[in-house]
Amino acid sequence: MEIGLGTYLALASVLFGIGAVGFLTRRNILLQLMSIEVMLNSVNLTLVAFNRWTPGEPGAWNHHGQVFAFFVIAVAAAEAAVGLAILISLYRLKSSVESDSADLLKH
């Protein structure tokens, strides 16, 4: 088996699927947030992998994919911070960390 771009992408897809399934099956917001981290990481993996296969020229490297991944990491950090803050707020309000309990936005 030769390991190429496709392999990385396939791995990333599998990881993304696992994250998504986790997000869908878990009701604990903490775990859902973790699932989201898994999904974001899988996307980062694709970005970095693509970047590896389009590296540009020496002295004029193409780092778009890695830069993007970097930004994704930053955004993921922000997301985790806000998400956890919301979680705490919700826990105060409802004494629960279940996502189903947050349904005040109904209609």
């Binding site: 390991i3 190429g4 771009l5 496709g6 392999t7 990385y8 992408l9 396939a10 791995l11 897809s13 599998v14 990881l15 993304f16 699927g17 696992i18 998504a20 399934v21 986790g22 997000f23 869908l24 099956t25 878990r26 009701r27 604990n28 903490l30 775990l31 973790m34 699932s35 981290e37 898994v38 990481n41 993996l45 970047n51 590896r52 296969w53 590296p55 020496p58 002295g59 490297w61 780092h63 890695q66 830069v67 991944a69 930004f71 930053a74 950090a77 985790a80 911070a81 806000v82 956890l84 803050a85 979680l87 705490i88 707020s89 826990y91 105060r92 309000l93 629960s96 960390v97 279940e98």
Partner: protein, 198 residues
């Protein structure tokens, strides 16, 4: 790709999948967080195989060092109440959606696995590191981030600032019980003040 690289890939990929499964399936949040830590470490390993050295380091620092710690911190804050009650609301639908998603992931994996590009052997810079930099190295990536993408970078810093403020704003405040207590205290004080004024 070198044989060593392939070996690292296989090892880290396996770990990544296993830890991902553990992350989403473990019941205890703390254990899940630990699994997530493992997942992030394995991904950093994968980054190394992709010549993304700096990114691997950042991954370790930001994710392993900050995000996972934040998760654990919150788990500690909330305590065992975080244990979800077993409810079977929309169970079928959840299982259906999850399996659909699994199929989508599998299809996607199958579809993209055949995508291939010619492998580019990155010819390491022969000259001084300062002159050309290394692909994925500190020099080259810093140049890309701070020169070419300076504006987005600054915007990200603003985003983070906003996120901090938002987190503070959202997490501030009190639970209903606390609120009641505070109000009761205030009312007592206000009444006293009014009495004094009279």
């Amino acid at each position: 790709m070198s044989a060593g690289g392939e070996l690292i890939f296989l090892f880290c990929g396996f770990i990544a999948v296993v830890t991902a499964v553990l992350t989403v399936s473990l019941r205890t949040p703390l254990r899940a967080a630990v699994a997530l830590l493992g997942h992030i470490l394995s991904l950093a390993g994968l980054y190394l195989t992709l010549h993304a050295h700096l990114l691997a380091a950042i991954q370790l620092m930001v994710y392993a060092g900050a995000v996972v710690v934040l998760f654990i911190f919150v788990i500690m804050l909330i305590g065992p109440g975080a244990e979800p009650k077993t409810k079977t609301k929309w169970l079928t639908l959840r299982v259906g959606a999850a399996s659909l998603m699994a199929m989508v992931g599998a299809t996607l994996a199958f579809g993209v696995s055949s995508i291939d590009r010619p492998y580019v052997d990155i010819d390491q810079c022969r000259g001084a590191a300062a002159e050309c930099g290394q692909f994925g190295g500190v020099d080259a990536l810093s140049d890309a981030i701070f020169r070419q993408s300076a504006v987005p970078f600054e915007l990200v810093s603003v985003l983070l600032l906003v996120a901090i403020i938002a987190a503070v704003a959202v997490a501030r405040g009190h639970s209903p019980a606390e609120k009641k207590a505070i109000e009761a205290r205030r009312a007592a004080q206000g009444g006293a003040a009014g009495g004094e004024g009279a």
